[in-house]
Symmetry: C2
Subunit: 649 residues, 2 copies
Amino acid sequence: MSRTSPATSATGPVRFGSQARAVLRPSVAPTVTAGFWHERRRINARVGIPQGPRLLESAGNLHNLRLAAGSVEGVFVGDYPFQDTDVYKWLEAASWQLAQDAVAAGDTTSLAAEVDRIIALVAAAQQEDGYLNTWFQSGKGEGRYSDLRWGHELYCAGHLIQAAVAHHRATGGEGLLDVARRFADHIDAMFGPEGSGKPLDTFDAHPEVETALAELYRETGDERYLDLAAYFVDRHGHGAHGGEIYCQDRVPLRDAETVEGHAVRQLYLLAGAADLATETGEEAIAQASARLWHAMAATKTHLTGGVGAHHDKEDFGDPFELPNERAYCETCAAIASIQFSWRMALLTGQARYSDLIERTLFNGFLAGMSLDGESWLYVNPLQVRDGYQDAGGDQSSRRTRWFRCACCPPNVMRLLASLEHYLASTDGRGLQIHQYATGRFQGEAAASAIDVSVNTDYPWNGRIAVTVERTPDDAPWTLSLRLPQWCAEYALAHADGTPVSEVVVDDGWLRVERVWAPGDRIVLDLSLAPRLVVADPRVDAVRGCVAIEGGPLVYCVEQADHPGGLDDVVIDTTVPLTAKERPDLLGGVTTVVAAGYRRTPPQVAWWPYQGHAAPDAGALGAALELTAVPYYAWANRTTGGMRVWLPTD
Amino acid sequence: MSRTSPATSATGPVRFGSQARAVLRPSVAPTVTAGFWHERRRINARVGIPQGPRLLESAGNLHNLRLAAGSVEGVFVGDYPFQDTDVYKWLEAASWQLAQDAVAAGDTTSLAAEVDRIIALVAAAQQEDGYLNTWFQSGKGEGRYSDLRWGHELYCAGHLIQAAVAHHRATGGEGLLDVARRFADHIDAMFGPEGSGKPLDTFDAHPEVETALAELYRETGDERYLDLAAYFVDRHGHGAHGGEIYCQDRVPLRDAETVEGHAVRQLYLLAGAADLATETGEEAIAQASARLWHAMAATKTHLTGGVGAHHDKEDFGDPFELPNERAYCETCAAIASIQFSWRMALLTGQARYSDLIERTLFNGFLAGMSLDGESWLYVNPLQVRDGYQDAGGDQSSRRTRWFRCACCPPNVMRLLASLEHYLASTDGRGLQIHQYATGRFQGEAAASAIDVSVNTDYPWNGRIAVTVERTPDDAPWTLSLRLPQWCAEYALAHADGTPVSEVVVDDGWLRVERVWAPGDRIVLDLSLAPRLVVADPRVDAVRGCVAIEGGPLVYCVEQADHPGGLDDVVIDTTVPLTAKERPDLLGGVTTVVAAGYRRTPPQVAWWPYQGHAAPDAGALGAALELTAVPYYAWANRTTGGMRVWLPTD
């Protein structure tokens, strides 16, 4: 593949170094100004992020920082050695939000003050030599770096670094970046290969520091951080943690054939690998990253984009082992998947990576935050049986104000606050729109700035209007619009309705190359007609079932709309689906109406298995209208049953 | 229901007290002398039990006893506070084996010496006041009874008591019983309801002591132990452990509607509840026990009889949540299910309880021990994908010589060594044969002893010959033979082939009441023809699949017989199944041959979900002969794939 060496000045989570070899680079200073994601981000800005300091105070995270600083007496509060990351992820979210607010000319005073206050707590907690971890400094954990299998010290460092980079990019502030650099320098002095003279030749079993160090290199230009990231990535798989899958230590990443182990750990590691491939141009690690991404997408991803099949060890299952009710699909894993996919999208320019991002954003990720922004899901199953939660079922799939292990909520906050970063890119010869949202996106062509505005009511309406706002006078450039993987029907037309004749369909991209003039507008119409989908027959969990999708949205049925419950519902696939706008429902959604039946269960005395010849399979009851709602909006009304996959007989 | 008050003198794990109100009581001094179970028990006696002391020594269990006794220096070896139970369960197994060997006039010297040696270690470890737990005595755990959520002290006491009762019943030895009584007396002094003056009003989150105390009451006649058992059973569900399901504390057992939480904990508790119902005659607890058993059997039991759907927390899933590859189905849970079911069978006289025992014995339980008796399964899934274990998959479903948490192997040993106890019963008016094995079974009728011999090659042959060996001269009595729930075709005839005309079919029992003479023989022929079964449509995990059974055996296909793997195999249900004797295979089994196909998977680029209208579902390839082997024999050759449920298209 050919790679450009783009200059970089993006303000989002990924900003390439000057030597980066990637096909695309993020759009500069993108904005989202209206529509679906704007509303979600507004909730995040008004409800989610502002509640952070109070929740971090009440959960003890800020206390732990003061304790480490010696400014209060007491003991560590909480159960986990990675609680500092809640603070860091919130700081990252708030930093991106400050950038948003600055662009929107909003009032940043009070949020900026909160950020500064908490940065001061972090800085005060740091030790002389740069080390910073409240679990170990408070004596809750014993011995720095003595338990890298579970201690999470470098994982915490990684989130500190990402927060510091965000704060620096968003505000220019140096304070948190200084803290992060001092910790990174300390780590660099402590960890290295045998023969390097550094005392520790091992890695943190929870990856995160790798991608963070790569970004710190990008922010500072200091290649030591990139080298350290490379050392950590390649240190995996050589037995430093007993070869444990849980620690991403069974096999070197370059030799791996599929994703495995703890989903978040695997995907943060892969984000770091993609960063390395981008910055070093090394083919072997680029190929390994692409190989693992494809193995994940093709065999280990739920319909919602959620990943991580198992509650036990929070890990990936076998290929095609994609259970419904026990789908773990941690919200953090969806976020990690998006981060990894975006790096691969930029590295390769392939649309499929952004296809998976879209699916994950609208479904497996977004379900993690309630509509009102006040409560959260840690686990995102595809089925909840009738009466499950009321019978004392596992509460991790019930919306909660905060968690004892609160990794997910601030992770959602930081992704939403930086979401504009994941929507568009440039390759120096034009602009690529990866995700559809109303806003402005900049790129470069013929060494000049180009700028387009997008207007759309996506995902409720498939019409996307793209207007050229700025363009070089007579140099042609290419506008690329992603044609979603799910889309079977579309039209691309000029503002006057005439079809765009010069469109080239290129592996998921609709590409229009021409000389543009300011005010030129093209309109993409994607058919959002609801559709039924089936799974590969190797997905045992959904044999004999279909699911409903509409545009990028996966739908589900909820007990709230079907008071009789869902355990016995059967869909009639011969009746066409109907989309129905419901502004009254769930903040305004398009529902999908389907036909079905409620089965009368078989009458068995005490054993639920019968002879195949003439079993009592129950009887199909009266016809039933099924109302499907977007999966992202589930569990916002009651705690009843839910299903994504519906039996067909 | 009417209840007799039988006198009791059985030597198995359950021996009723003089006041017991149960419909049946265990057969006195039953024996198994040949056939399928005799061979499994021979392996247990020759390989399983003898290796115990060496394994307990190398795993540190005996060291921990010496450490607690102060006879060695060092630290506790092992990771779990319940490691003493491995010793106790082995002592129980060895005790029952001593009884077997005595009956068979075998050489008991060396095993008896080992038992005495280990009993001496246990006795030496006991503290002055009767307390005994090496985890806490060695300082590994801090503070007696301070962590009953995880400390397992009464769980350990329960297994000690069961071992002591077994040793006393089997050998008459008082030594271990004295140890157990002293510990039980200590517990009785420590635990009791508010107002009793006892310091602790709570319970051990891992039940076991309840059923053990009931048995200690039966063995000693001391009603304090029964009262203490009743206190503990009823202490559950009132929040002593925060209402946690994992601790069996969400709801009082008498109010519960279904089994829930950790499967072994739930079922040991229910065994204790059934004991209480038997000894006290209290209807409420009898009804709760029956209600929970039916909920378990009808909605939470895998085809193999295995229970416990989840790896995470080792717990029951929702009703009809019965996954295949992630079925936990711990071997210990199968054993606990058998123990609970047997108590219910005796209490109620209903055949269904023994139906489930048969299914569990031949499948979910027996798979837990390798054919050679040298390795074990902790987890008993119903599906393993191709290449799963070689790709570093969870090893708990791979046969292992011993486990870090070795609860299952000695549990298998004790059940096999006392298996004859679960086969037959008497109600004072005749004899009931619950399970079919060659041996002798005694009962009582008209206040006289009755005695029958059974000859059968079950489960390979459905012919079961029952010969009356001893009978009162002219008093009629009823011989009851269980008609298995799976059996669609059978014949009952006299020795000369004429049908038994007076048979009454009574809810799973074939009852023949007559005046018998010594030498009278009747022959039951059960059709073992292999059959296909389907699940209730609410069992989502196996929609569109069938399973193969033959007699009491559940079958599976293994990769060892299908080198191309099983992930893409489809069964053709239109071709009849064929049974095939294979004396050469797996120690001699009947296999079932079926017709099928190997599907060519769909060709999808990177996403495994497609539109419903015309999906590429792959193509059925050439016909394939499928060879199914008994599930109990799986994983004795290679580590490849395995499936119980097979897709039909």
